[in-house]
């Protein structure tokens, strides 16, 4: 039987891997995938916590699951808008590389 801590650790690693994608990759799409990984890591923890904190009726905390549902929805919307922006950027500048975004600085 896996423990709560196991899930949390795994979720933490997933979060870190997502962060690594953001920090280390320079392709906007991959960065975006990293961001999705981070959100999912949070979801995993949330579900684990929900399962751990069973309610008085002995059921998982569905409130937390609703939150997970919201997060997924928001993530989807974010992906849609984000990809739209990336497409627009690509159309204008033919790049999805973050280092090309350097017009504004200092």
């Amino acid at each position: 039987m896996p423990l709560l801590g196991d899930y949390l650790i795994v979720s933490g690693f997933l979060f870190a891997i997502g962060l690594a994608g953001v920090l280390l990759r320079r392709n906007l799409l991959i960065i975006f995938m990293g961001l999705e990984l981070m959100l999912n890591a949070a979801n995993l923890s949330l579900v684990a916590f929900a399962r751990h904190g069973v309610t008085a009726f002995g059921a998982p905390d569905y409130n937390a699951q609703v939150l997970v549902f919201f997060i997924i929805t928001v993530a989807a919307a974010e992906v849609a808008v984000g990809l739209a922006i990336i497409v627009a950027l690509y159309r204008l500048r033919q790049t999805t590389h973050v280092e090309d975004l350097n017009r504004m600085k200092f």
């Binding site: 953001v22 920090l23 280092e99 975004l101 600085k105």
Partner: protein, 603 residues
């Protein structure tokens, strides 16, 4: 009119005249002169009225600064023998000089300014004479300084005159610094600035002899400045840059005597103070009197010779304060000196005008025949100055020297030997200017001055001769205690006088074309002026430049601007963090997250 008002009228008439001249007649020389003369005559007339009415006292006061229960400075008038005598001396001489000026200044472009300043001077001098408290005296003390400044700088286009005026003011200020400090000390100790109250409350200070000594000596600084005592004497010879009547009135007869007058005024305080105070006063006076005599023997400018003689004679007066048991000794010399020195200066002015502003005695000569009135008057003045018996100077000066014999033998020898110097420079002056043959073009064609100038000379010559005789003196001074010096002292003085006269005759009677004696040390006034020049240019100037540099580069540059620059630079550096690279931002973000969380959770 209420006689009580007379002193007030005497005091304020000249001020009113000054104001009227300045604001109404600033372009009308004649009117300006007339107004000034009228004011002086009025003041003189009323002064004599006051003098002749010994019962008159003035009680009214004008509050000047009044902080109830804490501090008050009234403008009040003191009328005692001292001030009465001084009043008539000042106003009388002033009147003569005002009249004389009308002739001397003829054709000058700045006559209204000149007369306005003279009136202002008269006002200030009268204020000193009449002041019944220290602060009032200080006020007029300063005003005397400023009017002297304006008058010395009358020929302001001349750099030398401009510098001399400035110097006179500044040197006086240095003396006033001490004066004010002394006033503060006496005030703190006695709780009042009014002379009578200070004297009455002195007992509270005698517990602190050191304090009282310091206070008195600081007050004496005022005298050192104003009466041109060593070491602050340098301004007086330079002040000869002013018109000659100014030299005569301010720098011989009245203003410079103010210092002595002030000492006489506070004489009771000096008596109550420890012995050392008067000792110091004596020695300052004695050294001044001797050193100024030395310098006078080697001057070539007729006015400068007289200027150094003035310093020397002021030294005698200060010695008088230091040794005599009464202030009258000094005041008596002040009294006689006022007449003969004024006379001498006016004579010198007459000569100068006649010689078209030639002041070098080595370009004069043989003027006795060409300007007999002037010459005779000058002779009378000179004999009085040298202290020749039967002339006024001898009575007053010998009196002081005799007091020195009684109370301070060393002081006696110094002052007595100064008589020798006096004789040398006086007779040198007389011989070179009036005897022999003319040494210059102007001297040959010199003519006697007009009546408006010679008349005051003649009038002044009378008191210059007779002012010392007891029957005349008694009219002005109470019978003063006799010093009681033996005849020997008197003989010694006479011997010094005779020796000086003989020496001068040997050297100068033959009418040499130039000075047969050259002593650079004396001619260069013991190099004291050079020392001051060095002090001002190097020490003060150096300090000023140094502090200016410090202010600009350290305080402003490093601290003020530097701080601002640091902030600016910090901003410049901080904004470099905004590299514009998304990944860098993400990195900073992540680093921030780690730092914040670590700080929050694990600290």
């Amino acid at each position: 009119m209420d006689p009580q008002l007379y002193p007030w009228i005497i005091l304020f008439t000249p001020l009113a005249a000054a104001g009227v001249i300045l604001f109404v007649f600033s372009r009308r020389p004649t009117a300006a002169g007339s107004i000034a003369v009228v004011a002086a005559v009025l003041a003189c007339f009323l002064s004599w009225r006051v003098f002749l009415d010994p019962s008159l006292t003035v009680t009214a006061q004008i509050p000047w600064i009044e902080i109830p229960g804490v501090f008050s400075v009234p403008i009040g008038i003191i009328l005692d023998n001292l001030s009465r005598v001084m009043l008539v001396v000042v106003t009388s001489i002033a009147t003569l000089v005002f009249i004389y000026s009308a002739g001397y200044m003829r054709g000058d472009e700045g006559i209204p300014r000149y007369y306005a300043a003279l009136c202002l001077f008269l006002f200030s001098m009268l204020g000193i004479v009449l002041a019944d408290n220290f602060v009032m005296m200080f006020i007029f003390w300063e005003l005397v300084g400023v009017s002297s400044y304006i008058l010395i700088g009358h020929y302001f286009r001349k750099n030398s005159a401009a510098d001399a005026g400035k110097q006179a003011f500044l040197v006086n200020r240095v003396g006033d610094f001490g004066f004010m400090l002394g006033i503060l000390m006496l005030w703190l100790a006695t709780g009042s600035v009014v002379f009578s109250a200070v004297e009455a409350n002195l007992s509270s200070v005698t517990l602190h002899p050191g304090y009282l000594t310091a206070a008195c000596l600081l007050v004496f600084c005022g005298t050192i400045g104003k009466s041109a005592q060593m070491p602050l004497h340098v301004w007086l010879p330079n002040s000869m840059e002013g018109p000659t009547p100014v030299s005569s009135l301010l720098h011989a007869a009245t203003m410079v005597a103010a210092g002595v007058y002030m000492l006489a005024r506070i004489f009771p305080v000096l008596l109550a103070a420890p012995e050392v105070v008067r000792e110091v006063i004596l020695w300052i006076g004695a050294v001044t009197c001797f050193a100024a005599g030395l310098m006078a023997t080697q001057q070539d400018d007729i006015k400068r010779i007289l200027a150094y003689s003035t310093i020397s004679q002021l030294g005698y007066m200060v010695v008088g304060i230091g040794v005599a048991s009464t202030a009258d000794a000094a005041m008596f010399h002040l009294f006689t000196h006022a007449f003969f020195k004024c006379l001498l200066f006016l004579c010198a002015g007459s000569v100068i005008i006649a010689l078209h502003h030639e002041q070098d005695i080595w370009k004069m000569g043989g003027l006795l025949r060409r300007m007999p009135v002037t010459a005779l008057c000058m002779l009378a003045g000179g004999l009085a100055l040298a202290g020749t018996p039967f002339f006024s100077g001898s009575f007053s000066k010998d009196n002081i020297i005799e007091w020195a014999w009684m109370n301070n033998r060393a002081g006696f020898w110094v002052t007595a030997s100064a008589v020798f110097l006096t004789a040398i420079y006086t007779f040198r002056l007389l011989f070179v200017v009036f005897l022999g043959r003319p040494r210059g073009e102007h001297a040959e064609h010199a003519k006697e001055s007009p009546l408006v100038m010679t008349l005051p000379l003649v009038i002044l010559a009378v008191p210059a001769v007779i002012a010392g005789y007891p029957w005349f003196r008694r009219f002005f001074f109470e019978e003063m205690p006799h010093a009681g010096a033996p005849a020997a002292a008197h003989t010694i003085i006479l011997a010094f006088l005779g020796a000086g006269a003989v020496l001068a005759a040997l050297l100068y009677l033959r009418g040499p074309a130039k000075d047969p004696v050259r002593i650079p040390l004396f001619a260069n006034r013991l190099y004291i002026d050079n020392f001051y020049d060095w002090l001002v240019a190097r020490v003060q100037g150096g300090l000023a430049v140094l502090s200016s540099w410090f202010d600009r580069w350290i305080i402003d540059g490093v601290f003020a601007t530097g701080a601002a620059r640091t902030v600016w630079a910090a901003g410049y550096v901080l904004r470099l963090l905004q590299v514009g690279n998304l990944q860098a931002y993400a990195f900073f973000f992540g680093a921030g997250v780690v730092a914040v969380l670590y700080f929050l959770v694990f600290r």
